[in-house]
């Protein structure tokens, strides 16, 4: 509300004049508070993409994360002109800028505080203190806790009959019956099943066979009429050979 009042009185909060006696500090606070709020997370998506890069060669989770941290601090973008040379220069410059403070810290440290902190952070990044260990321990605890608590078996858990292949059951798929091999077989089978007039085309012969087989299934196997009609195989009742493959 205070900021709104200032805006209505004509104060320009967009200015970067932080030295202004009346409004400088307020502007700075507003900028710090609101300008750094992300409005979209595409740069985080770039992190996801980076995760893909550092995941190459099946590195461990720790190494991936470490590489990503270093990459985040490294200038890897290319300039339009003299791209390669500029990139190398930028890498060296960045290296110097990043290493110098730590050389100074190490040189000027009291009571080994710098070394101590380095040890702590290092341990957090890769070692006993890494979060993956905590996560893994939690997962193990969940297994220990919930594994022995039994749920009621769901539908998918129920046992289903095994699918037995036609080669085992002796049944023959209709789709394997072709004109070149099985015209005579169909004739024998249909005659055996009591059909008097044998159709000329194989399609019609198959249709007749399907009807007869469906009737048999309903009669002998107590199958539902609908299921029987959709049945894809038949059991040869005659002695017809019903070859399902050409001779070699």
């Amino acid at each position: 509300m205070h900021a709104a009042e200032r805006v209505l009185t004509g104060v320009d909060l967009r200015s970067f004049d932080y030295e202004d006696v009346d409004h400088g500090a307020f502007r700075r606070r507003m900028h710090k508070t609101y300008l750094s709020v992300p409005s979209q997370t595409q740069f985080v998506e770039s992190g996801v993409k980076d995760a893909k890069h550092v995941s190459a060669t099946d590195r461990s989770e720790q190494t991936r994360s470490n590489m990503a941290i270093v990459r985040s601090n490294t200038p890897l973008t290319r300039t339009k002109e003299d791209a390669n040379a500029e990139k190398i220069r930028a890498l060296i410059r960045s290296t110097r800028e990043r290493s110098k403070p730590h050389e100074d810290l190490k040189k000027n440290q009291l009571n080994g505080e710098c070394d101590e902190r380095f040890q702590f952070v290092s341990a957090c990044l890769a070692g006993q203190g890494h979060f993956s260990r905590v996560r893994a321990a939690k997962k193990r605890a969940t297994v220990d806790d919930l594994g022995p608590v039994f749920k009621k078996q769901n539908v998918a858990q129920q046992m289903r009959p095994q699918r037995v292949m036609p080669a085992v059951t002796g049944k023959i798929p209709y789709s394997k019956i072709v004109r070149a091999r099985n015209m005579k077989d169909l004739e024998i089978e249909l005659l055996h099943r009591g059909l008097d007039v044998i159709p000329a085309s194989i399609t019609k012969r198959k249709d007749e066979l399907k009807k007869l087989e469906a009737a048999r299934l309903v009669r002998d196997c107590n199958m539902e009429r609908k299921d029987a009609a959709n049945h894809k195989e038949f059991l040869p009742l005659s002695d017809a050979p019903f070859k399902t493959a050409d001779d070699d």
């Binding site: 509300m1 970067f16 609101y34 300008l35 992300p38 979209q40 941290i69 380095f118």
Partner: protein
Amino acid sequence: MERTRSSRRVSPTTTPPPQALNSRPGLRPRFRHCTEISGLPDACRCDGCARFQNSRHSHKPRDQFKSRELQCYKAWTKTKTKTKVKKNKFNHWEKLTNFIRDHHHISPESLEQNSDDELEGDNNNNNNNTVTVVADDDGDSTAAVAPTPAKNQRQINWVENVFYVEKERFSIMVPTAHKIELRSDISRWYKCYEILMAMRKKLQQKQCMTNSVFSQTLWATMLAATPALPFSAAQCLFPLVMLAFFRDTGLFDQDDLFDTNVKTKKFVTSFPSDWVLPQHVWRQAARDTISLGNTLLDMIIYLACDKGNKKGIGHFIKFLCWWNDETHCVETRLLDMDAAGGKSDAAAEAIRTSMEKLKTHPGAATHLLSGQCTDSGGGGVTDNLAMHLQCLGLCVQENYLIAICCLHALQLQLSNAVNTVFGEGQIGRVNATQLIHSVYRLQESLELHEWRHILYKASLFVSSFNEDDEFEPLDATATRRQQTQHEHEAEFRRSFARVARFHTLFKRNVLKDPSIISKYKDTPFYKMLALILTRWWTVGSGASCAFDHYLCIYHACQQVINMYESGSTPCNIASDLFSLMSNQETFLDITLIRCFCKAYINPHFDWFQSNTDLSSKVAFQAHNVVARFWLMDYDLRHVYSAVSMNQHREAVALFNFEDAVADDNVNLIAERDKHLHKLSIFMKTAHKSLLKHFNRWVAPLLLPAALLSETPVAQVVASAMLQVPMPSFASLFDRFSGFYNYKSEAHGRVIELRSLCKFVRKEITTAESNGEGRE
């Protein structure tokens, strides 16, 4: 027996009379080494001389060999009384002194004395080398060293060395083997020599060791810059790179560093191994994290995070963002990408562990988060995540800002609308989503160059196809097979002609032969991406591609069906796609998606992805979101009148026109009503999604961000916040239209301020009714 005795006995008649031993120095030969004593048997020589004689050291005079092993013992300079002869040298001393006495008739004592004289003489000679500086005719000073002539030495060649001191010329004659140089030059050379020796030593280590932080950082940087390079490959690469790079400098020429056998040297062990390399990366990551912690101490920090599963690990990417006072720019840095569980509590726990690394002391109340930005769906996002972070004490207690990704929210509008009106794509379904996905699947089922060639051939057909041209009938001599073929082609042509009437803006030009072009981008040959409703632009891009090349793809389907056996994957996909494309209603839906993306989604996407107003950084436009919210709302209300929607209007107008009968067009009217109904639901769903996801930005905590937008917009928002009348923007008022039009540079659009004011007030009320009171 007697003969033997007599043979051993020295006959007094044959023994020469003893000669007087020579004790005069001038007449005595001057021995420097055993080898200079003529007739001395090898057995009587000292170890040094024997070694020298057996070696191949002949490239320089004996005097110049300084190694201890090759020094002559000079036994003749030692006497029993004066210089104590070592016990192990006594035998040699005795033999030598006897030989000199017996064969050279020189008293050993005199030789010892002579040696002393010689030493003294040498000293005198050195002292006698007087330098005479004389001025010549030109006034230059000439310094000349008068050499002491030495006996039994090689001839020395002299050369004049000229140099200047304080503009005064000096000239000194020195042996050609020597040269006078400036002391500073010598010092520089010495330093260079030391560097070179250090380099050579570095290449001969048992293992790679460096205490230099710079070196460690550089190793880490270069490895991080090349993430696809495995450490195991890097450990082999670097020695070879070094060798290749320095081979022509002569660094490896000398045998002591790198011989042709290689295996005897330590060169190969001097470089970091695949154990050391990750150590460098690890240490650098620790240093960077410490630096980040130091930078962010007592700063206002925001967190942006997202999850991404890569190669079996669910990486939880955490970025920190803050405002840099000095550069006036937002900065972002990756905190880490350690994996985390999918739920909010697991995400919060992961964030806690990550933030702990920034603190100087574990558990310190520093580095508190002031806000967050996440996607708006799934676990570990928005308010639920914030609540868990609060519980863990990771956030500031008050005014914690919770933002959602505007790009994600924008895409959700399309996603929700498509899912509600058309449904998700699935094999067997007939809808627009499945059509776009099938185009991708067909492309994936074929080899890319094959697919490109099919498209090229299709473009030839499309460009030459004319509905009015009659399909040439076959002559009477055609075989049955040819007749069947002809019938099939005629059938396809009829289908194609029908589809070609769906729209007038299909691309019908001949494509370039893909085998002769090198860049496929911006051509239909460019590989299409999989359609993912929540991934940015893939939907719009897929719909656009399908629309533009509808006829080519249609013909391509038929080609694939012709080429592949029935039952094969490409044939199945092509058959499905052919069926989908033949459906004009599905085509209408594709057109709607394309036009909606073009007219509404894409402009706003572009703005969110490119604007850097005030923050100097893309993705940090919280201050402009309120105005953009109004623009999106405005666009969505007026989207159907946009020019980009013309294509959809045309598609609706052309719908099923071939079936329309003048007297009986009831079905046609019903179909058109259905499309308008679909359109209405599509827009309503998108609008609902807009309000749902963007309303957060006018909530009391985030609304003050809009006070940093351009002044008129900021003042409108301020007046709405304070519930006072909108300021009178007299200069912006347009008397003719009655609008307060402000041309916003940040948005590149005109904003009508009164409408904005009304909108903001309304949304504030809605936000309040949602339970977030004003402060």
